[in-house]
């Protein structure tokens, strides 16, 4: 019951935000929602299937580049560019999954890292296509048959919010489905699941592709939001930030990683105004979380809640 109240309250607040926030602040919240989708997509792998990917930026970045390139070089047509971004992200994750899922644990981590860096290398090196480290500037926002133009901050915010709600709804359904429960079983004991009749590889593979698709959705939205994409959205640091968002919020909770993303985006915004060593701060946050809140922020709240009831 209290869960339903919390969800309703969150929806009301999110819908009402444009009334109270400045356009700059609303942009920040838009970014939080986009990174929230990205963090939740990684949570499906890390928190549910127990697969620690250190190359998840690959699917975010390749979708952003796909949409950016199509919008700039082919046509700024939402119905072409947006599905193409998802398709490429899903396709690349389907390909990379074939390699990465041959390994487990830290080996899986290393392979996903290496595969991600391959895409980063291509984006960095292939200047004629990708603009190299200058990235792709001036990516236009889509024109949709809506009474409001998405170039305006508020309509775009609602567009992202709708995508966020759809993503969290779909992911919540997936993790509570028989498929999602099986992922949790695989996380807990792979061998046992095989003996119980589960084709473990197939579950992991589908989870890997789904995670790539949702990361692609975030990448699509981000390039429209930012109007710019560079190789730094494909590289290991961005993948590691996503992992930190998941761990900070609480892996295996979906909502937690979305909250983690919001916290990281907010902190980065505040701190990078005062110092350049943002990565150092990320490292400190990671250490603090593992020491004091190994189950993340959501875990802390749950603990308090259970203690207050006991």
């Amino acid at each position: 019951m209290s869960k339903r109240i919390a969800i309703s309250a969150a929806v009301v607040v999110l819908v009402a935000l444009p009334v109270v926030l400045s356009s700059y602040q609303l942009g920040l919240v838009t970014k939080m929602l986009i990174f929230g989708i990205f963090a939740m997509s990684l949570d499906l792998l890390l928190g549910y299937a127990g697969l620690p990917s250190l190359g998840h930026a690959a699917y975010f970045g390749i979708a952003a580049y796909t949409v950016g390139l199509l919008a700039l070089r082919v046509a700024n047509n939402f119905w072409l560019d947006f599905p193409a971004g998802l398709l490429i992200a899903g396709g690349v994750s389907a390909l990379f999954g074939l390699f990465a899922l041959r390994a487990r644990g830290s080996y899986f981590l290393m392979i996903t890292l290496a595969l991600g860096q391959v895409l980063w290398g291509i984006a960095f090196g292939w200047r004629s296509l990708t603009g190299g480290d200058d990235g792709l500037p001036s990516v236009p926002r889509p024109r949709l048959p809506l009474p409001w133009s998405l170039t305006e901050g508020v309509p775009f915010y609602y567009f992202v919010l709708a995508c966020f709600v759809a993503a969290i709804g779909l992911l919540t359904l997936i993790v509570s489905s028989p498929f999602g429960r099986a992922l949790v079983g695989i996380r807990e004991s792979e061998r046992r699941m095989e003996v119980l009749g589960y084709d473990v590889w197939r579950y992991k593979y589908v989870a890997f592709i789904l995670a790539g698709l949702f990361a692609g959705l975030a990448g699509n939205l981000f390039v429209y939001f930012n109007g710019f994409v560079s190789p730094s959205y494909l590289n290991i640091l961005f993948s590691a930030s996503a992992l930190l968002m998941v761990i900070l919020g609480g892996a295996g909770t979906l909502v937690g990683p979305a909250i983690g993303a919001a916290v990281i985006v907010a902190l980065e915004n505040v701190i990078s105004a005062y110092m350049e060593r943002w990565v150092l701060v990320l490292g400190v946050i990671y250490v603090l979380v593992t020491l004091f809140a190994p189950a993340g922020l959501v875990g802390l709240v749950r603990q308090r809640w259970e203690r207050s009831r006991a």
């Binding site: 359904l173 999602g180 807990e188 095989e194 119980l196 579950y203």
Partner: protein, 248 residues
């Protein structure tokens, strides 16, 4: 027709021969104990039968179907279940969640991702009736790792039974249990459906002989003796292995 037929099965770990030329046939509904000292190859045999290991040579047939090359989950789909000597339960899941996973494993809905599992009422009904049948209903909402070791062994058995297996491999179900816990697990096994073919690895000879129809003795990767309980009890070679007489 035999339920499980093992033909000249061998397995090498590098240069070490764990099993060499083991042949066994088990009839439907039969209960066979596999006994033998440590390192005789008993667990290796189970790992080969369930497909966790691939044999170096030999064949495995389940109800006449050659399963030697089938992956583990396909063998489970054919009605093969097992328990593990070392508990590999789902430590952070509740008992009910664990049993639900076991029930779901052989259900057509196991791959569905477009509906909540709660929407599949028959899964929950089956899981709850299993827990009630085996006296674990009051443990349903407890997290598995918080159960006593004896209760964990019982959950292990319930997970293996969830798919109503035709052939069930039990790997030392009473290992590490107190005499009282051993008795309750043995009682549980005695209550298993007589339609289920059971292979039982057991260290405790008294427990083993009490539960089965027939015994096979494994020693250094080979079948040393096989036959009725009385025959095995009277076998001097078996006695030599177990009692360590000089003429072994």
């Amino acid at each position: 027709m035999t339920a499980l037929e093992i033909e000249a099965l061998s397995h090498h770990f590098g240069g070490l021969t764990a099993l060499s030329g083991v042949s066994l046939a088990v009839a439907p509904g039969e209960r066979l104990a596999i006994i033998g000292p440590n390192g005789a190859g008993k667990t290796t045999l189970f790992n080969l039968v369930t497909g966790i290991l691939r044999p170096s040579a030999g064949r495995i047939r389940l109800f006449g179907q050659d399963v030697t090359r089938l992956p583990t989950h396909r063998r489970a789909q054919l009605g093969l279940a097992r328990t593990f000597q070392i508990t590999t339960l789902f430590p952070r899941l509740t008992v009910l969640d664990s049993v639900l996973l076991a029930v779901q494993g052989l259900d057509p809905a196991r791959f569905a991702l477009h509906r909540r599992r709660d929407a599949y009422g028959h899964l929950r009904e089956r899981a709850e009736s299993l827990l009630a049948d085996w006296g674990l209903a009051d443990r349903a909402t407890q997290v598995t790792r918080q159960l006593s070791y004896g209760e964990q062994r019982q959950v292990e058995l319930v997970l293996a039974l969830a798919g109503a297996p035709k052939v069930l491999l039990l790997d030392e179900p009473t290992a590490g249990l107190s005499p009282a816990e051993t008795a309750s697990v043995a009682e549980m096994i005695r209550r298993f459906s007589r339609d289920t073919t059971i292979l039982l690895i057991e260290h405790d000879m008294d427990v083993a002989l009490d539960l089965v129809d027939r015994v096979a003795v494994l020693f250094q990767g080979r079948v040393l003796a096989e036959g009725s309980k009385d025959k095995i009890k009277g076998d001097p070679e078996v006695a030599a292995i177990y009692l360590g007489t000089d003429d072994a």
